[in-house]
């Protein structure tokens, strides 16, 4: 037990949590933006994978990590556009289209890697770049917290920044307002001249771009190569985190961190004398438990709010009457 606490309260652990959280957080933001526009995007997994490969290839070709990142993000956005085209123009069931994209990503990345690098498993033959780590001078010197917060990959900071940006974007800008309107009542948006399709395109493209950041982090930050199927389900976990976070940027961040923490924990706890399979289950079980607690709470809350609203509505009605 002492071991357990030693692990949890260690600086390395805190640092690891942020590292593990980063790709999930990006993808969760991607899930969030498309969810807000009323389309569920389960292609995040495939998008990340494609972007991860693009980042490696682009950075190897251009000898620049920045261009690699740019390529990853652009390609992520393009995949988002393809999904949008199928789901919105051709009216393919969006879940099916997403599953197809995941399939294509799984085989396509290996195929492209083979064509480009002559290798099927890992991109080690490509001299790809990694994105830099950043030491934050002031923060670094804070005891305990300093080493946890400082020295991360630049994308880790960007991931957390994206939460804030997303918040501003969704709740403060005209486009955000339109996205929310489309997600909640597409007919209403349509009736005021907003093109629902354009908005959903935008959301899916942004969603893809965010997944692109997540993918780039996987291959140009987390590790320094692309390997087949390297996202290993993180896109799905992000989806869960977004839902569990109540479809708000901060909620999604919080739940991504929670998952990151349990994942980091399961990575550290392997030395405990428990069958590995049980430790490997921890993050997933924790997510479900978190989801249930959240949902149960929310149901209660909604009931209360609804009751409140009903009451207000009735009061309003009477006031009108008495005018």
């Amino acid at each position: 037990m002492a071991d357990f606490f030693n692990i949890i309260f260690s600086v390395d652990f805190g640092y690891a949590v942020l590292r593990v959280t980063t790709p999930i957080l990006f993808a969760a933001m991607g899930a969030l933006i498309s969810d807000k526009a009323g389309v569920i995007n389960i292609a995040l997994e495939g998008m990340m994978l494609i972007s991860a490969l693009t980042g490696v290839i682009m950075s190897a070709l251009s000898h620049s990590a920045g261009l690699g990142l740019l390529g990853a993000v652009i390609v992520g956005a393009l995949v988002g556009m393809v999904l949008a085209y199928f789901a919105l123009n051709l009216k393919t069931d969006v879940i099916l289209a997403a599953i197809a994209i995941n399939l294509i990503a799984m085989g396509g990345t290996v195929f492209v890697l083979f064509m480009v690098g002559g290798d099927k498993g890992i991109s080690s033959s490509l001299a790809s770049k990694v994105l830099p780590r950043i030491d934050i001078p002031l923060i670094r010197s804070i005891p305990v917290l300093g080493p946890i917060l400082s020295g991360h990959n630049i994308l880790t900071y960007l991931a957390f920044l994206s939460v804030w940006v997303m918040y501003i974007f969704i709740y403060r800008t005209p486009l955000g307002l339109r996205i929310r309107a489309v997600g909640e009542n597409a007919d209403a948006a349509d009736s005021v001249g907003i093109s629902v399709r354009k908005i959903q395109y935008t959301a899916l493209i942004l969603s893809g771009a965010l997944a692109g950041f997540g993918g780039a982090y996987m291959s140009m930050g987390y590790v320094s190569w692309f390997s087949k199927n390297m996202t290993a389900g993180r896109g799905f976990i992000a989806l869960a985190a977004e839902a569990m976070g109540g479809a708000t940027p901060h909620g999604a961040m919080f739940t991504s961190l929670l998952f990151g923490m349990f994942d980091a924990l399961s990575n550290s706890l392997q030395t405990l004398r428990v069958p590995a399979e049980f430790i490997q289950m921890i993050p997933y079980l924790a997510t479900v438990i978190g989801l249930v607690i959240y949902a149960a709470n929310k149901t209660e809350q909604i009931k209360r709010i609804q009751a409140h609203q009903n009451r207000e509505a009735r009061k309003g009605a009477q006031e009108v009457k008495l005018l």
């Binding site: 599953i99 989806l239 399979e277 997510t287």
Partner: protein, 354 residues
Amino acid sequence: MFKQKRLFELVRTVLAVLIALIVALVTILFASDEPGRALSLFLFGPLDSLRHFGNVLEMMIPLLFTGLAVSIMFSAAQFNLGAEGAFFLGGITATSVAINQSLLPVVHPVLSILAGGLTGALFCGIPALLKVKWNASELVSSLMFNYVALFLGLYLINYYMRDVDAGAMVSFKLADTSKLIRIIPKTRVHFGLILAALTVVAGYYFMYRTRWGYRIRLTGLNSSFARYSGIQTASVIILSQVLGGFIAGSGGAIEILGMYRRFSWQSLPGYGWDGIIVAILARNNPALIPVGAFFLAYLRIGADLMARSSDVQSEVVYIIQGVMIVLIAAESFLAHYRHKLVYREARKTAASGK
């Protein structure tokens, strides 16, 4: 009018397939020095021998089960993705019964399949319960539970059923009494195909000709209305997922009993996701599940034969599959022409009516 529309649907589908084939051909041109041969293997390989066609039928069996399972859950508007985990755990529990060497034939597979089915039912029932009780999204919880199923299953195999004399992490041998008999000589097509066919037919009748099916559909289409009509929607929601889980679990059991000597999966086999594809292609209608399953199985086997016997990389087949699935399910593909057709038709009837 109806006939014309059906004809249009046919033309549309054929065109979609053609375009998908062209995309496939372009991809193959990239990947192969002998594209013609590769394509013909892909298209006709499954028909060139009984055994290859048998492969298609073999592959259809699990797809029929998971496709049906998913379609029932989706019909109730329950986006439970747990068919994957249910199939896997169904295989595991069936194994635990099937490795028992002292049971009678016939009884043995029946017990194994039941065990698999019940596990699947339990497994998909949990997200249902969480949904009904606490309104926790079944999509998310089932997605997570799939991982739990994997690790739990591996643990069970590793610690309780592993044959230490085998050179890999596999269960003990399944008893001969538990195996499903082969029904087509020179192939591995087993009795599971008949079971699957029966299940699909029963599934169709269940969904469209029984009160429970009606309740499931009504709840899926408008749960407020279903409740208003006196239907206990909570139990319907649970029923649909328990039933879906049962079918997926039995499917896993049947797959193991029909195709394997021992349980040897070390990761989720993916038939749950395939089931989603099949169910969506079949628009959740059990009567169309065999069509969807056959299509996907044929595609897979054709692609495999191509990858195996030509110089096309095996990964290319994923691309081709994805493109085909997306195009065929594209509802608005050619919608423009369809509307023209409708318009002309409507004018004509209007004119003749006058």
